[in-house]
């Protein structure tokens, strides 16, 4: 007999079927043993009666999370016991045969079957391969998969080409000390902090490119919104008329992503009582204006140069109040806080760049880039870097480079903020931080 999925059982009333999955819970009612069986499609109740001796013997002692295969008949549940919280609540399986495919060797250290496990982060992550089996934790990664697939879909539709760039570099991309060093055969190399240079090279060949890939940041952060390795959603587009075009494309991209998440992940969103905002025109204000608002309306002291995490949180509050928007673009960051390749604005103290904030945190950084060779060399020098270290990068600009811009977006922060999770590490399958390299 061929295995069917649990979600198919309500359509098979009266039929003999075969299921496989994990024992989610077990309740021993003297003679009757009830179990919830779980597979990738959902859960269903099994009933094992004493007359099925072999099955009953196994069921009496079985541990949660054992992997089993059962054969049985799908029955309508006797009136009144329907369980409305699951799709298969109207049926149960009268088990004829039960066999163990793989046993659970020990008592579980955490209760995987709980609606909400309510564990501290360390316990959750230390028991990662178990905690991932919990329905609510599991749901995070279904939303995550939708984030990356919808991102690729919309950009492909907008004629961006998907590229994959190397993560091993011979120089530190953007200056700074936040690099992991590798021993690369007989020399040193570095892990890519972003695909920035490669996606710009991509523009010179393909006009529009995007990349979904890991980036590595050797920052000794201990915050709820940083990890040392994450998946960046990058894009870069040529022939823009201004950096507004980049923001427009980003709005369009997010609008599609959020509509897809709403459409395809409603069950997962419901587990977190999460609301997915509709993305329309996102308010855009200059960073200096934002800093003024913080001083005037929130009585917050700022350094008048950049915004700190608390400022980001407050300006999002302000945008929600003023525009009923969960998003806000801050634009025109000072040159001093942006990388050398950022296009200066009309007032060269500032740049044609932006951050996009969502529910209190920055999820995207982007802007227009300098496309003129000589201006780029000048800017490298102005940032006290050596053009010699950027020779291979500068090659891209030697033979005709269109005006262009793009962004880098943290995929995990999007999921964190949509589901309202406390720590970004909950959205990473196997997160890496200063102390954690396991599992």
């Amino acid at each position: 007999m061929k295995r069917i999925l649990i979600s198919e059982t309500p359509q098979k009333i009266g039929e003999k079927i075969k299921l496989s999955g994990w024992v989610d819970t077990r309740r021993d009612h003297g003679k009757l043993v009830f179990m919830d069986l779980r597979d990738r499609s959902g859960k269903v109740q099994l009933v094992i009666t004493p007359d099925k001796e072999k099955a009953h013997d196994i069921a009496k002692d079985i541990r949660n999370e054992c992997v089993v295969e059962i054969e049985g008949v799908v029955k309508e549940r006797p009136g009144g016991s329907d369980n409305e919280s699951i799709d298969t609540g109207g049926v149960e399986i009268e088990v004829a045969d039960l066999s163990i495919l793989s046993s659970s060797k020990e008592e579980l250290p955490i209760d995987v079957s709980a609606d909400s496990m309510d564990l501290n982060l360390e316990t959750l992550l230390n028991n990662r391969t178990l905690s991932l089996r919990n329905k609510k934790v599991n749901a995070i990664f279904k939303v995550y998969a939708e984030v990356i697939s919808s991102y690729a879909d919309i950009l492909r539709k907008n004629s961006f080409l998907e590229i994959k760039s190397s993560k091993i570099l011979n120089t530190a991309t953007e200056g700074g000390a936040n690099f992991f060093k590798i021993k690369y055969f007989d020399r040193d190399a570095f892990l890519a902090q972003s695909p920035q240079f490669y996606k710009q090279a991509g523009v010179s060949a393909f006009e529009r490119v995007f990349e979904i890939g890991p980036v590595f940041r050797a920052e000794p952060h201990f915050t709820s919104r940083h990890v040392n390795e994450y998946i960046s959603l990058d894009a870069e587009m040529g022939f823009i008329e201004g950096f507004e075009d980049v923001m427009n494309q980003l709005e369009k991209t997010l609008a599609f992503m959020f509509s897809q998440i709403k459409e395809n992940c409603q069950k997962e969103l419901d587990l977190y009582e999460a609301q997915v905002p509709e993305v329309k025109t996102i308010p855009r204000i200059k960073l200096t204006e934002a800093l003024n608002i913080l001083e005037k309306e929130y009585n917050k002291k700022t350094d008048k140069v950049d915004i700190d995490p608390e400022g980001e949180r407050l300006i999002c509050e302000w945008a929600k109040k003023k525009y009923n928007s969960d998003f806000i673009f801050l634009t025109h960051y000072p040159s001093s806080v942006r990388p050398f390749y950022t296009m200066p604005s009309e007032d060269p103290q500032y740049t044609k760049s932006f951050d996009l904030l969502f529910r209190g945190v920055e999820i995207t950084t982007g802007g227009q880039r300098i496309h003129d060779y000589d201006k780029l060399v000048e800017s490298i020098k102005k940032h006290k870097l050596d053009p010699k270290d950027y020779e291979s990068y500068l090659e891209t600009f030697r033979y005709g480079m269109p005006p262009h811009g793009g962004w880098g977006m943290g995929s995990e922060r999007i999921v964190q903020k949509i589901l309202g999770l406390e720590n970004i590490k909950e959205c990473v399958l196997f997160p890496r931080d200063v102390k954690r390299l396991e599992p």
Copy 2:
């Protein structure tokens, strides 16, 4: 006026339009200057007459690969001069205005506009951001993008969940010395050689997972089919009844991918006169049988244990002759040449594993894995490894793990073999080998 794409020009005869792109070639016919303009959608001929003084002055001295913006009127080409090799061969643009967005500073080191550049590999890669602009080189990455997107599409349709696993590990995954070492804050770490352990953990939570991501191999290879960083197409599936299920799923996956490539990349395939094979049932023979065939039919000496690259080439020849198949599965590799997690076959000297060969090279390695905790510990010991080094991996098997298997597939090799390219580095945007970390 809003820029349109070059591919739209045949539908705009008689209209005034704006285009932007690169100067692909220029021909100075005394008074008339002809240029081919190139954007991401194609090429079209521009005609600049002397009466358009400003445009004519610029055009007379312009270098190839300059980025320009033009306004002009779309005209039907005078009879006889239609260029059938490009889609826009029936039209040309009578230029009214021409301005340079970004100039080409120097004579080009390579002829980007050539139909086939015919460069040696070093020159091609040393001038990577330029050589990528060549139509034929460019086409490789359109096929590449189709490989990865069609892979994701079919697996999603088959209810595999896309995951992203960490590339920084605290131990060498599968033993061996082929690891790049990282300085990770105050300790050592390693770059992932494969997502093997994480996709198995994925099975225990999601049943079916796939991953598209970089893998890093510190092998000092100097061959035409190896690079030190490549994109691996991984998948892992639970509740299989045998490793044949894995091969069946792989066949299904490749059939979809190859049909999509044929459907969506015909232009690119034509540039290489490439034939995409239809994937039907792929012949499956045991490795020992393959070695016998090599000895008998090709008079090739083998070590009776494993197959070498020449053997792979010959057995593909044989499969083509005997089954008219571009693919062949070799199965039941000896335990001695497979990693410790490979499921032994009925005869424990051999394993439930396979390689898939395509046109002379291995493109996929896969098989069933051991899912029983005790057997896995035993196998680790048998492979002279220490179970203590695998504690965190073993956790996955402690609490019920279904029978499962999967594969890892080299995305670049598929493109190389479809297009008939000599060296795999041609299929990597910015390839990394023992000597090359640039650009």
